[in-house]
């Protein structure tokens, strides 16, 4: 019996438990519904929950847990000469046994007897069913595969029996408990509350998952490369193991990547902060409703555009433009039309990222500026200050903590941005100060190390997780501090 059919049957049991529970509750009420503690629907739901919940939990656990257990038991019974070769060949043999098992299920009886008597080769028999075998195949494989098939079938049968028994048993138990005074609604609501709690714990689980998974992979990386070398190394040269130099580890210095990340984020902030801040001030203090209702959504469109589009914009428009204009400038000044800005450079990535950040700065600061109480402004204006003086001397100082928080949130976004820098910043990891040259970032290297063919044992791929946890730690600190400031600021004026 397949798992999906079983699932469907359990659902069927649940549905009938619901209907029966409801009608049973109505029957016990004897035409006077108000004598029931809970509405009949709750009695039905209660029965359905008893039918579904235990059965589906067992079904899920079984589906996850049974295959590895069968694998282990088959692996354990492989011939000793295979097992003695070590774990990797044994795993390989297990894989072959499983392919054979799949093929055996497709064979007809006559084909099977021909195979058992040795009339046809195992590999040919499998190939005829569209299953390629790496080796010629040996007799013990057929034996193991038969075992495998038998155990799988047994497991499926047992699973079907247990699950159906649980479903029907649960339903019967719940139905027998139905009476006029039975508090079905409270029970059902408890289950729903449990579900709600489970859902909200997913947020915590995600964080634990992020930290746990990255930490464990990063620790595997630090087993082969010392943390000192990683955090304080100044050379990034991971050297993908080529033929003949497999022993070479390469150098994994974080500093050039970190320098590039911070430099590009700095340029982006340099571009975005004045524009975003002035836009926010104008929007909050000067603009009338019409201007505000047009300009604010227009700027916020910038925040809704996917970052890959910004990356493309940098690649085909901003980068070539900067390169050409720098060539023209150079030509006008020195007569040598060699461009000094490269198409992929810190400046290109910084400017385009800055454009992306404008709406973040402006809408966050806008919110914060409008939270400054009216009375402060009125006081200042009443003393004869102009509006700009009021803004500069009263509103902005009052809003400063909140604005700093907003800028930190924006900076964390700049540090974690990926697609723009992948397309616009270049891949050369080096430490230098010229904004017209390409540099690279932590996120670019995570993408570089993890796209393509992977094997999860080499430091070349595991380093991505060490980079990831560094990035996570940086943005986490920025976020927590920023959220703390913003929260405190909000409390101050509430």
């Amino acid at each position: 019996m397949s798992a999906s059919l079983l699932f469907f049957l359990v659902l069927l049991v649940g549905a009938s438990a619901f209907v029966m529970g409801r009608s049973r509750a109505m029957a016990t009420a004897g035409g006077k519904l108000s004598s029931l503690h809970s509405l009949p629907g709750y009695h039905g739901s209660y029965a359905a929950i008893w039918a579904l919940l235990p059965a589906l939990v067992v079904l899920g656990v079984w589906l996850v847990a049974a295959p590895p257990m069968i694998d282990r038991s088959v692996l354990f019974h492989l011939p000793t000469e295979v097992l003695n070769q070590g774990s990797a060949p044994a795993e390989l043999a297990l894989g072959q046994v499983k392919s054979v098992a799949r093929g055996l299920a497709l064979l007809s009886d006559t084909e099977r007897s021909a195979l058992d008597s040795g009339a046809i080769n195992l590999r040919d028999a499998m190939a005829a069913k569209g299953i390629p075998l790496a080796s010629a195949g040996e007799a013990w494989m057929i034996e193991s595969a038969t075992d495998f098939n038998r155990m799988t079938a047994n497991s499926h049968l047992a699973m079907a029996g247990v699950v159906l028994l649980l479903a029907i048993g649960g339903a019967v138990l719940a139905l027998r408990g139905i009476s006029q005074r039975f508090r079905a609604r409270n029970r059902v609501e408890q289950v729903i509350l449990g579900g709600l709690i489970l859902a909200s714990s997913i947020a915590i689980l995600t964080t634990i998952g992020i930290i746990g998974s990255m930490l464990s992979e990063a620790l595997r990386f630090f087993a082969s490369v010392s943390p000192m070398e990683f955090f304080f190394g100044t050379v990034w040269d991971p050297r993908f193991a080529a033929a003949g130099q497999a022993g070479q580890a390469g150098q994994f210095g974080l500093l050039p990547l970190l320098a590039g990340t911070l430099y590009i984020a700095f340029v982006a902030m340099l571009f975005a902060v004045p524009i975003g801040l002035f836009a926010a001030i104008y929007m909050a203090e000067y603009a009338n409703n019409t201007v505000r209702s047009v300009a604010k959504p227009l700027l916020e469109i910038l925040a809704g555009i996917p970052t890959i589009v910004y990356g493309f914009f940098a690649l085909v428009t901003v980068g070539p433009f900067l390169r050409d204009i720098s060539g023209q400038l150079n030509g006008l000044v020195t007569g040598n039309y060699q461009s000094f800005i490269q198409a992929q450079s810190v400046l290109t990535a910084g400017i385009v990222m800055g454009i992306m950040l404008i709406p973040f700065v402006s809408s966050l600061s806008d919110d914060i500026i409008t939270q400054v109480p009216r009375s402060l402004r009125d006081g200042s204006l009443g003393l004869g200050a102009t509006r700009s003086e009021t803004i500069k001397r009263v509103v902005l100082p009052a809003a400063l903590p909140g604005i700093v928080g907003a800028l930190l949130l924006t900076a964390s976004r700049a540090v974690g941005e990926t697609m723009i820098v992948v397309l616009a910043a270049g891949v050369a990891a080096r430490m230098q100060l010229n904004p017209f040259e390409p540099m690279t970032t932590v996120t670019v290297k995570i993408v570089n190390q993890l796209t393509g063919d992977l094997e999860f044992t080499s430091p070349q791929t595991l380093v991505a997780f060490a980079l990831g946890i560094t990035l996570f730690a940086i943005t986490l600190c920025l976020n927590i501090y920023a959220l703390y400031i913003v929260r405190k600021y909000r409390e101050q004026y509430e």
Partner: protein, 440 residues
């Protein structure tokens, strides 16, 4: 602005100003400058928005047209099946030398000497190499066509397509140009004959990845994105709403719920690439799910979208006035009934708006998908979320890395399609809010 200058001019002759100089002129000038900075900042922002959209649209609108060359193809039995064995060996029709048919038709149409190898090569280069599969499909679908001469519209090669759209500078020296003078002349002949036409590019929406720009499309990637959006919707909406209901309505105010709250705000600001690492290590490495599958992509995007949905839902629940709850509770409803029967329906517009915005964000997300192997060359439509697939933004990323001019056009075209989806989703969210949102 003008009001202010006149009032300034009017106030200057007042004796008070002349008596005690408080620098009013200087201060008003500073005021005007300050205002101008604000207007300038907003204008710069809107200018860049316009520049970005203009770049994409001006480079991309031509991608919706595709040059086709209509040739009378003679499905000659001599070429397709010289030994007449198709009845016994159907594979013969699959492997026949179809490019030869195209060559013959072109040579005849353009009046080229069949023995002039260089010219024949130039001419056949004008037709996309995808003509082979196109003709094969025609013949396999209808073997009776063999022996007949039928006009077939073939895709033009990418560079010819670009030249036909006027994107290739013909004044450049011929040696440095992808399209040669002879080809340009033939293009003119074909165009005068009405054999070279531009038609709506349906292939852009129905095909998958291809190394030839003229045959590449976003159909397969769009299907992958659709799978992922459905998974995100099916998981993130119920989980997000349940979590928000618990946190907003039931959770006691203590250290733990405070932690969850800070945690959710944090997750909303975690870089998206970190979610990719999470997906790679947990879903693929640990749980053994297939790489490049839309299922894994959907799960990763679900985790990424959850905080957005939770924050929006909590705001929507908070906006429902306490009087509604008090009334329901007063009439004897349980707390659970109050929330599910009264509060939740009233908060629904806000929740759906937040969900749509979250989905739009997930639709445009690229970075985490790169890490879970969705940078894949996928030609066929994925039959299920477990099969290898790619996504719209990832397809854009892959095309952006191609060098050919025709791919720039395709990339912009795909971006236009993506932006249209996003605009429709956001408009939907705005309309939903306008239509159903209640101010209490």
């Amino acid at each position: 602005m003008t009001d202010m200058t006149t009032s300034l001019a009017g106030s200057s002759p007042r004796p008070a100003v002349s008596r005690r100089d408080i620098g009013i002129k200087r201060r008003y000038a500073a005021e005007r400058r300050f205002r101008a900075y604000g207007i300038g900042a907003i204008s710069i922002g809107i200018f860049f928005l316009g520049l970005l959209l203009w770049t994409v649209v001006s480079k991309g609108y031509t991608a919706f047209l595709q040059t086709e060359i209509v040739l009378p193809i003679t499905f000659s039995e001599k070429v397709i099946d010289p030994k007449n064995e198709r009845a016994t060996n159907p594979a013969k029709l699959m492997t026949a030398n179809y490019p030869l048919l195209v060559r013959d038709a072109l040579v005849q149409k353009l009046g080229i000497d069949p023995n002039n190898r260089a010219d024949v090569k130039l001419a056949t280069d004008m037709v996309s190499a995808s003509a082979r599969t196109q003709l094969r499909d025609v013949v396999v679908a209808n073997p009776a066509i063999i022996g007949q001469t039928v006009p077939v519209a073939l895709l033009a090669e990418g560079n010819i397509d670009s030249a036909n759209k006027g994107q290739i500078d013909v004044t450049v020296d011929e040696a440095n140009r992808k399209v040669k003078d002879k080809q340009l002349a033939w293009m003119q002949t074909l165009a005068q004959d009405g054999a070279m036409t531009k038609s709506f590019n349906t292939g852009l929406f129905t095909s998958g990845a291809s190394s030839r720009p003229e045959a590449a499309g976003i159909g397969v990637a769009a299907l992958g994105s659709l799978y992922m959006m459905l998974i995100v919707l099916a998981l993130a909406l119920p989980i997000g709403v349940s979590a928000s209901i618990y946190l907003e309505e039931f959770a006691p105010k203590n250290k733990l719920t405070d932690l969850i709250e800070v945690n959710i705000n944090n997750l909303a600001a975690v870089p998206s690439i970190v979610y990719g690492l999470l997906g790679l290590s947990i879903f693929i490495n640990f749980a053994g799910m297939p790489r490049s599958a839309a299922l894994v992509g959907g799960l990763v995007l679900t985790l990424m979208t959850l905080p957005t949905i939770i924050i929006a839902t909590r705001a929507a629940l908070k906006a429902v006035p306490p009087s509604i709850r008090a009334a329901a509770l007063g009439l004897g409803a349980s707390k659970m009934q109050t929330i599910f029967h009264h509060v939740l329906p009233l908060a629904m517009p806000g929740i759906l708006t937040g969900t749509i915005i979250g989905l739009a964000h997930a639709l445009g997300e690229t970075a985490p998908l790169l890490l879970i192997g969705m940078v894949a060359f996928v030609v066929d439509f994925p039959g299920s979320p477990l099969e290898p697939s790619t996504a719209l933004p990832v397809q854009i990323y892959m095309w952006a890395n191609e060098a050919e001019r025709a791919f720039v056009e395709r990339t912009s075209g795909a971006i236009i399609v993506l932006l249209i989806f996003l605009v429709v989703m956001n408009l939907g969210a705005i309309l939903l809010r306008r239509r159903f949102e209640r101010r209490w």
